[in-house]
Symmetry: C2
Subunit: 346 residues, 2 copies
């Protein structure tokens, strides 16, 4: 089966997308006919040979010597004088953060009728912006940590007691995130967060909370779940720690939790996933506070696709690639224009 790994993008997560793609190559190259399409920070696409899939190809700018691609109907392509390159496999959208997770790439691929694994435009909008994830939870009856929203151009007091956690609204990978223990530290934490986004989300920071990650996808009409992982915790994962996380490929052990909690996590996952995330393999990060499950965040394109949580990751990707949603297309017959022209007598 042909599979095109699309990675890079003009986002703060550009580099971790490269790391993710290199990891995915290792996990999938025996099972798929892989192509690699790199989106650079100028939004140009390049076809990267498998043996060039190393960090230095990108950091050195060497990728610019490789074939540049355009978007064509159902594929990436390059038309040159004497040869034509066509990259027409199902795309695995591995562009983390802006472009990849905010709905831009999803829309682009939809517009050009390119089949892809990844969140659709609306699913992207709800998972990328931390405010909208809260709205989604509210609408679906899923517990979430209470929050305040601060805008760069306004003066507003935070209504929670310390400690707090301060996050740019639209960035993943812990970039710009701070835990603030006392009021003296707040201004600096806000300055850091506003470096990355004009909108900042502030939540009470709950020390010692239990955290569980669960990934899954819909294929052949049913949800397929990964194991539940209890991630290694520091106070919270900073960017460098998370960065290394994007290259994870070793299987992890199941969290030591009972069947009831496992089921409750799955029920919450299902509630989030259905009617929104079809076509994507997502990872939901949950908190358990006073025996209640809370959604912390949705990763609609998790680092290296959370491969380490699945027993048979290549099979998961294959199943998903064969169960992708398709958009309803309108058929246009110009009936109304004909009617109205007739009515107007022209």
């Amino acid at each position: 089966m042909k599979l095109t790994i699309l990675f890079g993008g003009a986002s703060f997560e550009h580099e971790i997308s490269i790391v993710s793609a290199i990891t995915i190559k290792e996990k999938l190259q025996k099972h798929f006919d892989l192509s690699f399409v790199f989106c650079d920070t100028d939004h140009s696409f390049y076809l990267i040979e498998a043996e060039k899939m190393q960090a230095k190809t990108f950091s050195s700018g060497e990728y610019k010597k490789l074939p540049q691609l355009g978007l064509g109907r159902g594929r990436f392509e390059c038309k040159r004088m004497f040869k034509k390159i066509e990259v027409d496999g199902v795309v695995l959208n591995l562009v983390h953060g802006a472009d990849g997770e905010d709905g831009t790439i999803a829309s682009l691929l939809d517009f050009f009728d390119i089949n892809y694994i990844g969140p659709r435009t609306d699913a992207s909008v709800f998972s990328y912006d931390k405010r909208y994830t809260k709205w989604l939870c509210e609408a679906k009856g899923i517990r979430y940590v209470k929050y305040d929203v601060l805008y760069a151009d306004e003066q507003k007091d935070v209504r929670f007691d310390f400690p707090l956690i301060v996050k740019p609204a639209r960035l993943g990978s812990s970039i710009g995130v701070s835990v603030v223990k006392e009021s003296e530290e707040l201004d600096y934490a806000l300055d850091v967060a506003f470096e990355f986004d004009d909108v900042v989300v502030v939540e009470p920071f709950i020390a010692g909370v239990k955290e569980y990650n669960l990934a899954g996808y819909l294929a052949d009409g049913e949800l397929h779940y990964s194991i539940v992982e209890e991630p290694q915790k520091q106070e919270f994962l900073d960017f460098e720690k998370k960065y290394m996380d994007f290259s994870r490929s070793e299987a992890v052990s199941k969290a030591a939790i009972d069947a009831a909690l496992t089921n409750e996590l799955k029920e919450n996952f299902k509630n989030i996933y259905l009617d929104m995330f079809e076509g994507a393999l997502i990872r939901c990060d949950f908190f358990v506070i006073d025996n209640e499950v809370y959604l912390n965040e949705i990763n609609p394109i998790p680092g290296s696709m959370a491969n380490y949580l699945f027993d048979d990751f290549p099979r998961a990707i294959e199943q998903l690639a064969s169960s992708l949603p398709h958009r309803k297309r309108a058929k246009i017959n110009y009936e109304y224009i004909h009617n109205i022209s007739a009515a107007k007598g022209k």
Copy 2:
């Protein structure tokens, strides 16, 4: 000032977008250096000469003989052997319905750094899908009519008394919408709605409700409002009636309402618009029920841009075109890749 009217799209509203564009041409051609870019139902773009801006150019397929355009950095363009066409004005997104209002075109234009008037991707998602508009209202404390959601593949009873109004979740222009007076009519109404979408929204139908429309946009740091209109009511506007609406260009009279209600409508508009619809001229359709203002729907690309509600429509477009939002772009220096490569000793 150059302005590119982008219209068409692969949606049920394809034809009304053509009507809208022809109307806009009449309203703006004296004030702007206009270009017309047509997106056909195959998602190919064509440059349409001003004198060819007639319904029959499209219904006859004649547009296919005109120059085909591609997307380039900051513009539409056509590279041919001996001449190069560049269409680089600010784009006015006039693609109604799917593509134009669901975030696809917004993402496409953002990706190619083309400046445009119209809703951004997230604003599109929240206004296009009637479910998400309700979620937006809930989050922002705006009143909305209670609702139920039905999916094509499920059996579920509607929990409201008749009469009801049945609407496809993701279509504008009253397509597929029915008022259902008694239970015998419900199945047929649902069949009609499910023709257009797999998701249907059902609301109690409130007869004789007062309806008011208000349009506006943010420019130079402040909101500019249109007059408030009380639309001519039939039971509800059906598609043919609305279709004619998209060609409206005659100024209308102000609704006969007092200053208090006008202000309340403006406050509701402001609450909806800010932090989401920047860059767009939108029209909000409100209900007044028992003296309370309810949001009925958001039109993020209203028919012919609701030109008839503005005293000086060309000036509105000019102001808006000069106040468009720009995305924060990440700067990538490959610092992490360099650090990690150094740590690994390679």
